[in-house]
């Protein structure tokens, strides 16, 4: 997913939107400081993960953000994740179910209050 994030950053940079990409690398210990430092700088966050929405690591990350950065948020935190369904076997459906570049870019624009 870091790859998708970097592609999104490159593409949005062309539109004048600068993005911090925080690559967590580990979830235990989780580098919460890196997350909150970035959110306090940008006042918004998109959490991108290859996994289901419910009980996902992303949910935990959003929890840290709302707790530590409440007064710094200018938009709701948006998550980009895998569709809420068992992973399909058909390649095309699998691709559609997974988080990808267009979904990530749409989410970033949403937290930037930019009409897609």
């Amino acid at each position: 997913m870091v790859l998708v994030a970097m592609q999104a950053a490159d593409q949005l940079a062309k539109e004048g939107i600068k993005i911090d990409v925080v690559d967590l690398r580990t979830i235990r210990p989780m580098d919460v400081d890196a997350i909150t430092t970035s959110v306090k700088k940008t006042n918004r966050a998109v959490v991108l993960e290859e996994g289901w929405e419910i009980c996902g690591i992303g949910a935990q990350i959003v929890d840290y953000i709302q707790r530590d950065c409440f007064d710094h948020l200018d938009a709701p935190v948006i998550r980009v994740h895998q569709a809420d369904t068992p992973m399909p076997y058909a390649k095309a459906l699998e691709r559609a179910a997974k988080p990808d570049l267009p979904k990530t870019i749409a989410a970033v624009k949403k937290v930037m209050y930019i009409e897609a």
Binding site: F70, A75, P76, I78, V80, D84, A96, A107
Partner: protein, 446 residues
């Protein structure tokens, strides 16, 4: 069909009303036009009438509570009607209810008229299988603007709220560009950049709010909460002394003849008794009819000279000052003025004046003579351009024309003039006319 009961604007300047007392209980049958409650406006205690028939199902405001105009205060409906949805949106003044209460039709208050302020259905409540195919969480960004309450609490992001409080901006005064009118960081920045934030206010210091909450006597002092009328007086008078360039003209009138006239009339019987105040009111009204340049309103971009003289007379009440109006005072006989001023003063003290009785004055008179004030200056009641301050009538030694010293009844009046409309000489000429009237009261019948 249930009918919402709103706090209505019962006077032209009313912004909030205190529900003094409910006259109907929950469950009481009401007809259209029935008086539901007594409401204290900024000027008087008025009646809040039902605009629908049925049963008073719910009272949402307690006796003694003050709420802004447009607030839902109750619901009238059929006995078994479900009114939960109506009540859910209470406590949010609805913009549409504010201005003209009189012309509002009962249907306008029907429940469907306002957007249901209930929050848009939360995604969480939908079964997982129905989740949109997109894997982007349908978080609150997707809430359509129309689903959010149009007024009430200012929607804002936490960051915007913090920035606003740091820079002393009033969030409510900023229009939000986010979904549903949410105020976000860029709106605050824009407001700061253009200085368009009309809502500059002092950052909330704990003192103001907590001080009020703990109202009551604490030994050395007593905190008195502001009544609505007191708030209005403060606002109106500050408005006056600030932008109005006022100057003052003082003159001393001889009241010997007026006093003789009054004594002669009183000798004819109680029916003919008039007070000095009545003579002064009559003389002022007559003089104003001859000086329309003083009988005027300053309206910002123009001056309106009135051809009719509607004389306001300041009356002290227990709650403060109110200025009932004697309409067409110049055309009324002194006896009519005497009766009317008495009735108005009595109504003012009992707070029974209707808005029609205290609005529309073209010039005002304030009399503190009965309090032994020799002379004072009154504050102009905008948009009027002048006010006459009447002092006490006193016996004073005066050097007469033949050089002898006599003790005569004298009266000091001070006229406050709005210099934007009334120049010194104009005001002085008016006082000359007034002097002629008061010193030669027979002029009043001329």
């Amino acid at each position: 069909m249930a009918t919402k009961v709103f706090m209505e604007a019962l006077s032209p300047t009313m912004e909030e009303g205190r529900l003094v007392k409910w006259l109907k209980n929950e469950g009481d049958a009401v007809k259209n036009g029935d008086v539901l409650a007594e409401v204290e406006t900024d000027k008087a205690v008025m009646e809040l009438a039902a605009r629908g028939a049925g049963v008073l199902r719910k009272r949402l405001v307690n006796d003694g509570e003050a709420v802004p105009v447009g607030t839902l205060v109750g619901v009238i409906g059929a006995k078994d009607e479900d009114i939960a949805a109506l009540i859910a949106g209470s406590r949010k003044p609805e913009a549409s209810a504010a201005p003209e209460a009189g012309s509002r039709k009962p249907d306008a208050a029907a429940p469907v008229a306002s957007p249901a302020p209930a929050p848009a259905t939360s995604p969480a409540s939908a079964p997982p299988a129905l989740a949109p195919p997109s894997s982007v969480s349908p978080s609150s960004v997707a809430v359509p603007a129309s689903a959010l309450p149009a007024s009430g609490r200012a929607l804002s992001s936490p960051l915007a709220k913090k920035l606003a409080s740091e820079s002393g901006l009033d969030l409510a005064a900023i229009s939000g560009s986010g979904p549903g009118g949410r105020v976000i960081k860029r709106d605050i920045e824009a407001a700061l950049a253009t200085g368009s934030a009309s809502g500059f206010r002092l950052p909330a210091s704990g003192l103001g709010a907590s001080g009020l909450g703990a109202s009551g006597a604490v030994g050395d002092f007593e905190d008195v909460p502001l009544t609505l009328i007191r708030k209005t007086i403060a606002r109106r008078l500050a408005e006056s002394i600030g932008p109005i360039p006022t100057f003052y003209l003082t003159a001393e009138f001889d009241l010997e003849r007026a006093s003789e006239m009054r004594a002669a009339m009183a000798a004819m019987g109680d029916d003919y008794k008039v007070s000095f105040n009545d003579i002064i009111l009559k003389a002022t009204a007559t003089a104003l009819a001859q000086h329309p340049e003083v009988n005027a309103h300053w309206l910002g971009d123009h001056i309106r000279r009135h051809h009719r003289v509607h004389l306001g007379m300041a009356v002290a009440t227990d709650d403060g000052l109110i200025v009932p109006v004697i309409f067409d005072a110049d055309k009324k006989r002194m006896s009519e003025i005497a009766v009317e001023s008495k009735v108005l003063a009595k109504k003012a003290r009992e707070r029974k004046l209707t808005p029609a009785e205290y609005t529309g004055s073209t010039f005002s008179v304030s009399n503190l003579g009965m309090m032994q004030i020799e002379q004072f200056t009154a504050i102009i009641n905008p948009p009027e351009c002048g006010i006459l301050a009447i002092g006490a009538i006193e016996d004073k030694p005066v050097v007469a024309e033949d050089g002898s010293t006599q003790v005569r009844k004298r009266l000091r009046v001070t006229m406050s003039c709005d210099h934007r409309a009334v120049d010194g000489a104009v005001g002085a000429r008016f006082l000359q006319t007034l002097r002629r009237m008061i010193e030669n009261p027979l002029m009043l019948v001329y």
